[in-house]
């Protein structure tokens, strides 16, 4: 019976944010307690500006200019305070203080990689948090202890591996009850299309899968199900899992109509997954079954980033200078 009912037409965005005046490269919803009363969205654009959007008024309430007109490729809020990290192609990683209406750079880190690799943080609510950034050598990843900025280690693949540059990073740790001391792990998608799981404390490669033909462009990990997904410049979306003693295994490959995935994001409730496509389309999948749920064709240029808010809102930033905000399968 259900098959006979024609599927509903794809939805329209809930609203669209305009005004960045350049391509949107990075998005991040404001997390933490203050998000409830003042929901915010941060966007980083090609022109080096970080916009702070109020989701209530749907206007930009502030613009942060700290990257000297060089493209911003990553923005991330810190859970504990009103702080924001932004990574630009001017090789700076800035930490912004946003509390009480301030917007000043309180700290910055000099990066040594000129690539497009987005950084990643692991903050468990404590004062100290871990930061993974692309390192000095073209295939290295550097782990920093923050906010002290002390270098923990540099993860360099073995000399004969030659995976190319790291393209995307994902820090996570095994849940504490499984292991008494938290063991931070790092997932890295490399230029040769492989996804590698690093054990940071032992500084070695735990597992390695070559799952893409093309460079891995984005990955996200669901620590609850121990499953992750990665998208590449090619046509496929690969779901893999971390089984047993930290070994990666490919669970399934999903073929897409058009090649090129710029970013993937799993909704915080682990129900659905969104991808940002170079074909101007956002695709939504059911995370458990990987059934395709929707193809959102709103943007007129390639979509660069997708992000989910804790309340289920989906935002996508595109090269067409617009940010579309969607409410799909929202929870009751």
């Amino acid at each position: 019976m259900a098959a006979l009912v024609p599927p509903p037409p794809p939805p329209d965005p809930q609203f669209v944010l305009r005004g960045t005046r350049s391509a949107v490269n990075a998005l991040c919803f404001c997390e933490g307690s203050q998000a409830l009363e003042r929901p915010l969205l941060f966007s980083g654009s090609q022109s080096g500006l970080v916009h702070i959007w109020s989701l209530q008024t749907q206007r930009a309430i502030a613009v942060l200019d700290g990257h000297g007109s060089q493209s911003v490729i990553w923005v991330q809020t810190l859970p504990q305070g009103q702080q924001l990290l932004s990574q630009g192609r001017d090789l700076q990683l800035c930490l912004w203080d946003l509390a009480e209406g301030r917007n000043a750079i309180v700290d910055s880190i000099r990066l040594e990689s000129v690539g497009f690799c987005r950084s990643s943080i692991l903050a468990g609510g404590q004062q100290r948090w871990t930061l993974a950034v692309p390192g000095k050598g073209s295939d290295e990843v550097q782990i920093l202890e923050m906010p002290s900025k002390t270098s923990v280690c540099t993860l360099k693949p073995e000399a004969d591996a030659k995976p190319g540059m790291p393209m995307c990073l994902g820090l996570w740790q095994l849940s504490p009850q499984a292991n008494s001391s938290p063991r931070p792990l790092l997932l890295v998608g490399y230029e040769d299309g492989s996804v590698v799981l690093w054990d940071i404390s032992e500084r070695k490669v735990c597992s390695h899968i070559a799952c893409h033909e093309e460079p891995v462009m984005g990955l996200d990990f669901d620590s609850q199900k121990a499953r992750g997904v990665s998208g590449s410049a090619g046509k496929e979306l690969v779901v893999w899992s971390v089984d047993g003693p930290q070994s990666l295994q490919v669970c399934g490959t999903h073929k897409l109509t058009n090649p090129g995935i710029a970013d993937v994001a799993i909704r915080p409730d682990h129900k659905i997954l969104a991808t940002a496509g170079w074909d101007c389309r956002i695709r939504v999948f059911h995370w458990r079954t990987m059934k395709a749920l929707a193809v959102l064709a709103f943007h007129s240029a390639s979509v660069n980033c997708v992000a989910f808010a804790t309340n289920g809102l989906l935002a996508a930033g595109s090269k067409d200078q617009r940010i579309s905000v969607w409410s799909l399968y929202s929870r009751p």
Partner: protein
């Protein structure tokens, strides 16, 4: 020997005397009882010799006497019905053939409905129901030595078969249901089976029998056209009986062989129709085709070439029958050769009705399925020659189904004679015809072997199910405990419509007509070329002014455009673009196109494209309310979205109309109306734009058709284009309705039609006939009568002739339609005059 017969004779004579004179019930009963001894049913039966004499000599006379006595009073002489019973028993127990003949004689002899007639009819019904007919026939199967026997059999035969007619004639409305042909012949079929059963039994007992009488009965019934009634009973039963009895099979074969020649066709038709497959046919008929010349003619010539009424399953069983035995197989090969000869003859392709051509093609395919590799290799050269010949004339035909038939048959033949070589492959659309034809040669499992194969797959499927279950269980147990993912259902995640998820083309569509032209004419960039073609239609509609500046050049480019990249919708895109340009600048472009139609260096396809474009443009121009349309042509390259109705029907793009509907409904529900006026939307009237340019479209096309050029000969080989031309002219005529130019157009068209009216090609004739209809529809009736009276008269007799005699169904139908139109016009004019 002398005294004994006299004793019987005396007693019979005495009995007859008693019957005719006596009124005493007791006396009559005893007399009848004494005669009954000779039938052998009484307690003290008479001697065998006496019985025999009574049966052969006196029985008929005695029965006649009984019949003559039959009346209500006579039967009531004995009130307890004893007399009636006894009377009946003579007919039901005595020799069946005589009883039957006497009864029939009695029935025929009576003048009109009467008690006696009714009584005899009832008795005849009882006779049938008691299985006496079987006894009659089985009697005839015994070896006979009597003189006059053939004559008797002949009479019996005509009476047995003609029974429904005789009784129907006599009884008129009082006829009993048992004697209706649809009831009688199935009963007769059962009786025949009974008789055959007796024959088989006595053959088993070593007695000699002949089934020729039964064969003749069967033949006669079939000649009367009652095959279906009788064989629908006989054939299924015989199918079962012959399954494992060789004797039954031999009896059956004999039965078929002894059918008289003149009835052979009727009987065989019935058998082929009733048999459920080649095996059955083979069991029932044996090697009849080999033994009987007539049967051979019917099966291999008449059924295949002179008729085309067998359905495909029947054809399958017929040809399968030929294929099943090594003695019959040469006949199949011979049939294939002859079929192919007919298939390949250009005259039959041209003149035979489509249904017959299809029949022949079907038969060829079935033959090919039955023939094995070595047999085909033997006749390979002949097959190849026939195929080449046939393909040529089929492809020359202007009827699409005929061309398709040619392609399909040629593909199959070539794949059979060169199984290892590269396959011959034509391009044709998937139609009902092609599917049906290809299904014939698909390696379909035969009925019984598929049922055998049907069994095994079930078992693995059953065993697989638990395995899958356990795998699934393993997966779910591997999930981390506490995950609620198994609990939540997918119901809340209903997928949205994803039909819009198509592959992306990355190229920039040109924004100006001139860029488009340049891209199409000289661009080496394939993607740009494609984008230009896709964008062109929208551009033309949005920029009519700039299109007019370059219209002819643009059409020239489009006309010579070739599909360089195997673009999926190349033909449609090019055509739509051409139509768009023509509609934008009709006079000049039409002039150009019509002049190019008769020009030298064009392919037939290009010429036909010209015709199509002219028709479509004329249609577009004459469409009322056309002027409002161009605004909807907005989106470039989105061919499917140009019409608003289509957009609504597509769920993917229905978002905008959806909210409009919602809003309108809301307004409606909140609005109170005091009175309902006229429907708000009225059709706005606008001038027919085709009116002013119809002449540019029409007249140049009629001008040069009889002047062949080197590459283009409309009256010769290029009759396909001529057919298209006639259709186009008809359409243009039809679209020019209500225009002033319609009258001269009609005149010119009638002249054109007149010249070509006896054209040999079906497609051309169809075009001419529809053109006549267009003239009748478009030219005002008064002007028709005023300006073209002679043409109309001539056309009328021509149409009547076509409607009666043309070989093609479509032509006949079109002619009848045109005649009806003509009648209507006359009807409209007559009352006023």
């Amino acid at each position: 020997m002398d005294p004994a017969p006299s004793a019987v004779r005396l007693s019979v004579q005495e009995a007859i005397h008693t019957l005719s004179s006596s009124e005493d019930a007791g006396h009559i009963l005893t007399t009848l009882g004494s005669v009954r001894r000779y039938l052998g049913e009484a307690e003290d039966p008479a001697l065998a010799g006496e019985k025999k004499e009574f049966a052969t000599v006196h029985f008929s006379a005695f029965l006649r006497c009984l019949i003559s006595k039959l009346s209500q009073e006579w039967l009531e002489l004995s009130p307890d019905g004893q007399l009636e019973q006894l009377w009946e028993s003579f007919f039901l127990e005595g020799p069946a053939d005589q009883a039957f003949l006497v009864l029939m004689e009695g029935v025929e002899g009576s003048a009109g409905p009467s008690f006696r007639l009714m009584r005899m009819a009832q008795l005849l019904a009882t006779f049938l129901s008691k299985g006496r007919m079987a006894a009659l026939m089985e009697e005839q199967c015994r070896p006979q030595m009597k003189a006059g026997f053939p004559l008797l059999q002949e009479t019996l035969l005509s009476k047995v078969v003609g029974l429904p007619d005789h009784l129907g004639n006599r009884l008129q409305r009082d006829n009993l249901a048992q004697f209706f042909p649809q009831n009688y012949f199935p009963v007769l079929g059962k009786e025949i089976l009974q008789a055959l059963q007796v024959v088989v039994n006595s053959l088993r007992g070593g007695l000699d029998c002949s089934v020729s009488f039964v064969s003749r009965v069967l033949g006669k019934v079939c000649i009367q056209g009652r095959q279906k009634e009788i064989l629908s009973v006989l054939v299924p039963q015989l199918t079962v009986l012959t399954q494992d009895s060789g004797l039954w099979q031999r009896v059956c074969w004999r039965l078929a062989e002894q059918v008289p020649d003149q009835a052979m066709e009727a009987v065989l038709t019935g058998f082929v129709e009733a048999a459920s497959g080649p095996e059955v046919l083979s069991r029932l008929l044996g090697n009849l085709v080999v033994k009987n010349k007539k049967a051979q003619f019917v099966m291999t010539q008449k059924f295949l070439f002179l008729q085309y009424r067998l359905t495909t399953p029947m054809l399958k069983s017929l040809l399968g029958y030929l294929a099943m035995d090594s003695q019959r197989r040469p006949l199949l090969i011979q049939a294939l050769k002859e079929l192919l000869e007919t298939w390949g003859s250009s005259s039959s392709v041209r003149h035979a009705p489509l249904a017959q051509q299809r029949y022949i093609s079907t038969a060829i395919l079935i033959c090919l399925v039955h023939l094995g590799e070595p047999e085909l290799q033997d006749i390979r050269d002949e097959l190849l020659a026939g195929m080449m010949e046939g393909v040529k004339c089929h492809l020359d035909s202007s009827l699409t189904p005929v061309r398709h038939l040619g392609m399909i048959v040629a593909e199959v033949i070539s794949s059979r004679i060169h199984p290892e070589g590269p396959p011959l492959k034509f391009q044709y659309e998937d139609s009902e015809l092609s599917r049906e034809m290809l299904a014939l040669v698909a390696p379909a499992p035969e009925g019984d072997c598929s049922s055998e194969e049907g069994g095994p797959p079930l078992a693995p499927a059953v065993t697989k199910a638990p395995a899958e279950m356990s795998v699934h269980g393993g997966v779910s147990s591997a999930q981390p405990p506490g995950s609620d993912s198994e609990l939540d259902s997918d119901d809340e995640f209903i997928p949205y419509d994803m039909s819009g998820d198509t592959e992306l083309k990355s190229s920039k569509a040109p924004l100006y007509i001139r860029d488009c032209m340049e891209a199409l004419a000289v661009s080496e960039d394939v993607q740009r070329w494609e984008a230009a073609l896709q964008a062109l239609e929208g551009l033309v509609y949005r920029n009519p002014e700039s299109t007019r500046e370059v219209s002819v050049e643009l059409v020239k480019i489009l006309l010579h455009l070739e599909d360089r990249t195997s673009l999926a919708r190349f033909g449609a895109l090019r055509q739509r673009a051409l139509v768009a340009v023509t509609v934008t600048d009709p006079a000049r472009v039409a002039e150009y196109l019509t002049s190019q139609f008769y020009a030298l260096n064009y392919s037939l396809q290009q010429r036909m494209d010209i015709l199509d474009v002219l028709t479509l443009s004329a249609q577009e121009l004459s469409r009322p309310g056309r002027l409002r349309r161009p605004s909807q042509h907005g989106s470039p390259g989105s061919g499917s979205q140009c019409s608003p109705t289509q957009a609504v029907s597509q769920p993917g793009s229905a978002t905008a109309p959806n909210w409009r509907v919602v809003v309108e409904e809301r307004i409606k529900s909140k609005t109170r109306r005091f009175s309902k006026g006229l429907p708000q939307r009225e059709l706005s009237s606008s001038p027919n734009e085709f009116s002013s340019v119809a002449g540019h479209f029409f007249f140049p096309l009629t001008r040069h058709f009889d002047r062949p050029v080197v590459t283009f000969d409309l009256l010769g080989d290029d009759q396909l284009v001529l057919g298209r031309l006639t259709h186009t002219l008809g359409s243009l005529m039809y679209l020019a309705v209500n225009t002033t130019v319609a009258v001269p157009m009609g005149k010119a068209l009638m002249e054109f039609i007149w010249v070509l009216r006896f054209h040999a090609d079906t497609y051309v004739r169809r075009g001419l006939l529809s053109a006549v209809s267009s003239v009748l529809l478009s030219v005002p009736a008064e002007r028709l009568l005023g300006d073209l009276p002679d043409e109309l008269l001539e056309a009328r007799s021509w149409l009547a002739d076509v409607a009666e005699k043309d070989a093609d169904d479509g032509c006949r139908e079109l002619a009848v339609k045109a005649l009806l139109l003509l009648e209507r016009i006359r009807g409209r004019l007559l009352p006023s005059s």
